[in-house]
């Protein structure tokens, strides 16, 4: 399946126009970017891939991932993933209403204490909730139910990711919620994989942008009477970053294609693992090639590198996914190792 070029062009133009350096910086200081979010919802991208019957704007998962890739490419400071393929997906698949405003999601940390009581009220707290403070509803999946909780009922403790994006702690005390039984295939494991897939798409875009920025910066910056890109030691950074950009984007697209066909645990796990490692290497290479300029707020490199540092640990860091893939392939035995690599989830026993 390929994504309609119109989606790519529209999203690229939209983010390109709105996510200027100043706008991304301002979003960080203000804890959100309402104008960017509004323009994003006007295009219908906010609900892309959610069925029209449920109040979504239709389209495929791959369409949604392409929009996320471009959101990553432009460092769009909005909860595009939370509202769409994560929180929106939870609500829509459970038959719960999509709100007017933003729906965000509790990614699920080891410290979360939130419980849904039999009377449909929720008590406890969830951490690292993206844009919690600006959301209308919080979607959670736990204990066999999906709940849509009004954020106005929460005590919000504002916190930030390494990228300066909101990652808030929300605490509830007997808050009323819309609660339904989770349908088959909708559980915390499924959310973790979808979350990982969303991060992989965002990261693929961000690494590509960072790699391009580094090629242009090193061609403009002169030392010893020539552009620093003429030095082989610098060229090495350019090549390594470009490889990681290619690897991450390929991983994201291949995992997206598998996920839209069905079971894609292997592809998503392998993609997140590759992309986490690619992010580590590429941020190192791109920062090094930028010298001190890359360490400033004024120059945009950090809009991408800090997001990558934050995304690489969200929905599973390198060790978690290495373990997952390792166990999956070890279970195949030696004869099944290569078939797993070529055939992915479909070949796993």
């Amino acid at each position: 399946m390929t994504v309609d070029a119109l989606i790519t062009e529209t999203a690229d133009r939209l983010f390109g126009r709105l996510c200027t350096h100043d706008a991304v910086q301002a979003a960080e200081e203000g804890g959100g970017a309402p104008e960017i979010w509004e323009a994003f919802t006007e295009t219908g991208f906010a609900w892309i891939s959610l069925p029209e019957e449920a109040g979504g704007s239709g389209g495929t998962l791959e369409d949604a991932l392409e929009v996320l890739r471009l959101a990553g490419y432009h460092a769009a400071p909005i909860p595009a993933a939370e509202n769409g393929i994560l929180g929106g997906w939870l609500l829509a698949s459970a038959g719960l209403e999509l709100p007017e405003g933003i729906v965000t999601v509790a990614p699920g940390t080891a410290r979360d204490t939130l419980k849904v009581a039999d009377d449909g009220t929720v008590t406890g707290s969830v951490e690292m909730v993206p844009w919690g403070r600006g959301a209308e509803r919080l979607a959670v999946v736990c204990g066999g139910v999906v709940a849509s909780i009004p954020v106005e009922a929460a005590v919000v403790e504002t916190k930030m990711s390494l990228a300066g994006e909101p990652r808030d702690t929300l605490t509830f005390d007997g808050a009323p919620a819309d609660v339904v039984d989770a349908p088959v295939g909708v559980d915390s494991r499924a959310l973790r994989f979808r979350g990982a897939l969303s991060r992989v798409a965002l990261m693929g875009g961000a690494i590509e942008k960072m790699s391009q920025l580094t090629v242009s910066y090193t061609n403009e910056r002169e030392q010893f009477g020539r552009p620093v890109a003429r030095f082989q030691a610098v060229q090495q950074h350019l090549v390594w970053a470009a490889q990681d950009a290619a690897l991450a984007r390929m991983a994201a697209e291949a995992a997206g294609a598998a996920a839209s066909r069905g079971e894609a645990g292997f592809e998503i796990a392998a993609a997140k693992l590759n992309t986490n490692q690619a992010a580590t290497r590429a941020t190192k290479a791109c920062h090094q090639a930028h010298g001190a300029m890359g360490m400033t707020q004024e120059y945009p490199l950090h809009h991408y590198s800090r997001r990558l540092w934050s995304w690489r640990t969200e929905y599973g860091g390198t060790t978690e996914w290495a373990k997952w893939v390792g166990e999956a392939v070890a279970a195949q035995g030696a004869d099944g190792l290569y078939p797993a690599i070529t055939g992915g989830s479909a070949a796993l026993i």
Binding site: V215, V239, A246, N274, W321, A322, G326, A330, G333
Partner: protein, 385 residues
Amino acid sequence: MRFTPTELTDDELALQSDVRDFLAAELPPGSYMPGLGMSAASDRAFSKKMADRGWVGMSLPKEWGGHDRTAVDRFVVVEEMLRWGAPVAYHWVADRQTGNIINKFGSDEQKTRFLPKICAGELGFSIGMSEPDSGSDLASVTTRAERDQGGWIVNGTKIWTSNAHQNDWFICLLRTQPLESGGNKREGLSQFLIDIHDTPGLELGPIPFLNGEHHFNEVSFTDVFVPDENVVGVPGMGWNQNTTEMAYERGGPDRWLSVFSTVEQLLREAEGTAMGERTIELLGELAARWWGIRNLSLSVARLIDSGHAPSIESSLVKEMATRFELETIEKLVELVDTELSLESESLFEQLLSQCVLTGPGNTIRGGTIEILRSVASKGLQGLPV
């Protein structure tokens, strides 16, 4: 630069399954010593069997004994052979590159003479590019061919010629016009087809590998006569033809499967035992990386089939993939943390020993990673390569 994701079609998957069946029947695990990817053993009978299946010279035209198959079909066959550690060395170079060069630039007479034999798995080629004073700076080769009645007289020396002692012919890059001072090194070079074992004045000798194995050779020419009909393409255009040849060398499964048979054996020997956490994690990292790199490499093959010459893409993949191979070897050594020996009781340890000893060549052969980086970086910056 854009790597478009692609997947195997049903026909390609059927081919993959044929190759797997063939290998399971011909080389059941435990019945042979697996090779390290393209550094596999040379076995004429095995090459012949593959050729009988139509798996050698696949992408060459039917007219010349080939099969008119795609680069992706060849990719499918090659990746299975290499991950199995099958003995593909005899037809390796002829299949990967020399056949293509002859098909692309050779005369009809050369095509008749060489291609059917290559496709039959009956003609092994080596590569005669490097010289004592010309490695990375390949265009500086000085082995010269001078005009003579009906042909050329060749003098000079080629080195590092892999498997020349086991193959039949080699394709040599020679200087046919003297390099004038300030002249363009890339002009005046020509490609010659030369019989390694039946050419008066040609001397072949081993250059023992660091572990004592016979892999490298030195080939010296003293007034060797090569007839005109053995010059490939247009005399003087050898550099461009040779560059085309290099494109076939880069970015394929041979650049990321050298360590696969070793890792597979690790898993085989661990079966039935509880694997440690570090082993599991390393296995996960490797499988994921193979999955990622394979997707990139397959997309390069698809690009070739759609008529592109993805030289930047294939340099990027090859540079990344061969570094990954070396990192893998290092991580395996750290994981097992034991005294390695080629005579170990464990086949895995034997293979890992061989990886340690031969691994450094992976990032050198076919153009060093430093040279690949400079090719790729020019491409990234939009400069002429």
